[in-house]
């Protein structure tokens, strides 16, 4: 019987009877423009029972007729808490990213008297362990057992792929605060999935332009040859090669190997103008140190997306000095939102905030914008999504908005390591959007 609830249905606000049928999102969007809509899904059965004013006139295999008189939204919300599930790594290599995101996410949510759209909320923290094989099970657990209203996560792109596929099918409101897999806002893009970080394509893209502007026309690419590394290299090539630069060689290193001596020997023999690398964490520390130890530091320019020098400059020491990277954030960005955010973070958690914290903070701001717009009625998913799409996020990284595929359209900064700090040199590209290849939203 209730399978009809699996379809997204429609009713006229004026209370006219109209038969429901299956709509896809595109149609729904068009209809929204006329003010005619209502949707619910299998996850929100309880919302239907609350909607006493909706009288179901007929329940059939494919169509039901509905008469509607909308109750006020506030009444729908009731006293129940809004449930937000976080699917983030709380153990393993990425623990500090998960903690950083959670800290600032909570910081953003607790700002307005600790309420979202007038309702209380609770966080249900689930440890993703950054393990893709566990992602599907944990996502289902959050949706089916915990019955959360939002999922926030993950850090790891492999986890994101598995999670997003389910979130799409289940129509689960999802905000991704880090994982950069292009697919999530590409072929897998979905109205209910938002990303507040970046696509892997984005951070490397401005670097190609920067190099060409300085007359550096040849490059060798060296990266971990898995999803993120390859997509980052694509982003770089899309600006570098199309602008007339030449890629002399691409060296893929199996992830997560950190033995770079062979690659350094090859690079030294090729002698390009610049080397673009994608490594993060321990790999970034080791590559930068090996690079300096091999005497290449002052002979060939080493560049990359900001992860090369993000949170690791202390471990890299002198070897990192002068390295230039592009990223959507830098600790030293001079704007009011950033100063306020960093001061509050340090006060609350006793340490410096980082780019992952910024992404978590913006995830919190985004959810607040969505839930506030429907005054706590999270079942009004369509309105909420519309508000989130329109949101201008006043982020520590500078104001940004969403692309149609729900990825940030944001500034990318050219940064240089000076005294162990990523100092902003200038804006490398303004309002850069991911090309969202394969997204049919």
């Amino acid at each position: 019987m209730w399978d009809v609830l699996k379809v997204r249905a429609l009713v006229r606000e004026e209370g006219l009877k109209q038969s429901m049928r299956v709509f896809n999102w595109k149609e729904l969007k068009i209809l929204h423009g006329t003010g005619e809509y209502l949707m619910f899904d299998n996850r929100n059965k309880r919302n239907l029972t609350r909607r006493k004013a909706l009288s179901l006139l007929g329940v059939g295999a494919g169509s039901i007729a509905v008469q509607a008189a909308f109750p006020t939204r506030f009444a729908i919300g009731g006293d129940a808490k809004i449930k937000i599930g976080t699917l983030l790594p709380y153990s393993g290599t990425y623990t500090w990213l998960g903690e950083s995101i959670t800290n600032s996410f909570e910081q953003a949510l607790s700002s307005h008297g600790g309420k979202l759209g007038g309702r209380n909320f609770e966080l249900i923290k689930v440890d993703s362990e950054a393990k893709p094989p566990k992602a599907a099970g944990l996502t289902n657990k959050l949706i089916d057992q915990e019955k959360v209203d939002f999922i926030v996560g993950p850090v790891h792109s492999g986890v994101a792929m598995a999670m997003t596929k389910i979130a799409r099918e289940e129509n689960m409101m999802t905000v991704i605060p880090n994982a950069g897999a292009n697919q999530v806002t590409g072929p897998l893009c979905s109205p209910n999935v938002f990303r507040t970080s970046f696509s892997n394509w984005q951070p490397g893209h401005p670097m190609g332009k920067v190099l060409l502007e300085e007359g550096k026309n040849t490059a060798v690419l060296c990266y971990w040859s898995y999803g993120a590394g390859k997509q980052s290299a694509e982003g770089f090539k899309d600006s570098f090669v199309q602008g007339g630069g030449k890629v002399l060689k691409e060296i893929g290193i199996p992830f997560p190997k950190v033995e770079f001596q062979a690659a350094l020997t090859e690079i030294a023999a090729i002698k390009p103008d610049a080397v673009y690398v994608f490594f993060a964490g321990a790999g970034a520390v080791k590559f930068v140190k090996d690079w300096a130890a091999a005497g290449l530091k002052d002979k060939i320019e080493l560049v990359g997306p900001g992860f090369l020098t993000e949170g690791v400059t202390q471990a890299q020491g002198d070897a990192a000095e002068g390295i230039r990277t592009t990223l959507h954030y830098a600790d030293t960005l001079d704007n009011a939102a950033n100063r306020k955010f960093r001061a509050a973070y340090k006060r609350a958690f006793g340490k410096e905030a980082d780019v992952y914290g910024v992404q978590g903070f913006d995830a919190g701001q985004l959810i607040r914008a969505g839930v506030d717009s429907v005054r706590g009625d999270v079942s009004a998913q369509y309105d909420m999504i519309a508000a989130m799409e329109r949101a201008v996020i006043d982020s520590p990284r500078g104001k940004w908005v969403f692309s149609p595929a729900h990825n940030p359209v944001q500034n990318f900064y050219l940064r240089e390591v000076r005294g162990g700090v990523n100092e902003v040199v200038r804006i490398a590209m303004e309002n850069l959007a991911d090309p969202a290849r394969g997204c049919r939203a």
């Binding site: 153990s91 393993g92 290599t93 990425y94 623990t95 500090w96 060296i251 893929g252 290193i253 199996p254 997560p256 190997k257 950190v258 033995e259 001596q261 062979a262 690659a263 350094l264 020997t265 090859e266 030294a268 023999a269 002698k271 964490g281 321990a282 520390v285 080791k286 140190k289 090996d290 130890a293 091999a294 005497g295 290449l296 002979k299 060939i300 949170g311 690791v312 471990a315 890299q316 020491g317």
Partner: protein, 289 residues
């Protein structure tokens, strides 16, 4: 590719292989002599690296870290054998794998609590800083040459000890027939303790020595563990000589694979392992059953 680059690449491979030997030798003696599959061996490597980080911060140098690290890791291995590993001698491999896998989880969690998730770095001692110029763009860090030298010295020492000393003879005998050795009045328990402690210390020292070039980070042990097992299997289980040549073979193969077969770089060493096992099922220097 010119000849100079090729020679440098082979040198890179040998240098990587020597480091692998240091780790794999500890694994192969524990495996070959005591019959214990020790999955936690990589963790000892990681512990050594973190010890290097903490000790060199406390004492101000890598050399003091090595001097303190060797007795510490020996003692740690001794205690671990006494209270944990000893339970495993008469059990099957599955239980050994389970217990030592559990140890990995415990050590990783302790590592998170003690040192956190961020990568750490250990400075190269001042007298070993600097580099030797190999070509107009490339130079070779002196510390890496020093590392290779130490690995060679360790290999030679192990060879002499096992081959020409009384304790070495007992260790070899212990790997052939422990009951007979026991009947002859040799304290087999002590030999086992000693061998295990030495195995732990070898991995620990490898970690300490590698820390300045490898960077210290969570999970570094698991990565090296798999390659070490490949080395041990290729060389022949329990054979130090096998571990030595196996490690060099893997080191050179890995580097050349990355240069000449970049698309298949991650599987080349496993291909070599399969090939060796096809021709010599018990490894290059293994005793056939």
């Amino acid at each position: 590719m010119d000849w100079l680059s090729l020679i440098i690449q082979i040198l890179n491979g040998i240098q990587y292989g020597l480091l692998l030997f240091l780790i794999a030798s500890g694994l192969t003696i524990v495996f070959g002599i005591m019959g214990i599959i020790n999955l936690a061996h990589g963790s000892f490597y990681m512990i050594g690296a973190y010890l290097a980080f903490t000790l060199s911060q406390l004492t101000g140098g890598l050399f003091t870290a090595i001097a303190l690290g060797i007795p510490l890791t020996l003692a740690f291995g001794f205690l671990l054998e006494r209270f944990v590993i000893r339970q495993l001698y008469h059990r099957d491999h599955l239980q050994q794998v389970l217990l030592t896998f559990g140890l990995i989880l415990i050590f990783n969690e302790l590592q998170q609590i003690l040192w956190g998730g961020e990568p750490k770095s250990v400075p190269v001692p001042e007298i070993l800083q600097g580099a030797v110029a190999l070509s107009d763009t490339l130079s070779y860090p002196i510390y890496r040459l020093f590392l290779s030298g130490v690995c060679l010295a360790m290999a030679a020492t192990m060879y002499v000890v096992i081959r020409y000393t009384r304790i070495g003879m007992q260790i070899r005998a212990s790997s052939s027939n422990q009951n007979m050795l026991n009947a002859l009045g040799v304290n087999v328990r002590l030999i086992n303790s000693l061998v295990f402690a030495c195995g732990v210390a070898l991995a620990g020292v490898a970690g300490i020595l590698a820390a300045p070039v490898e960077t210290v980070y969570p999970g570094m042990g698991e990565q090296i563990l798999i390659v070490s097992f490949v080395v041990v299997v290729i060389g022949g289980i329990g054979s130090i000589r096998g571990a030595f040549f196996g490690a060099l073979l893997i080191g050179v193969t890995d580097v050349l694979g990355q240069v000449f077969l970049p698309s298949a770089a991650s599987i080349v060493i496993y291909g070599v392992m399969a090939f060796v096992l096809l021709i010599r099922p018990s490894g290059l220097f293994g005793r056939s059953e």
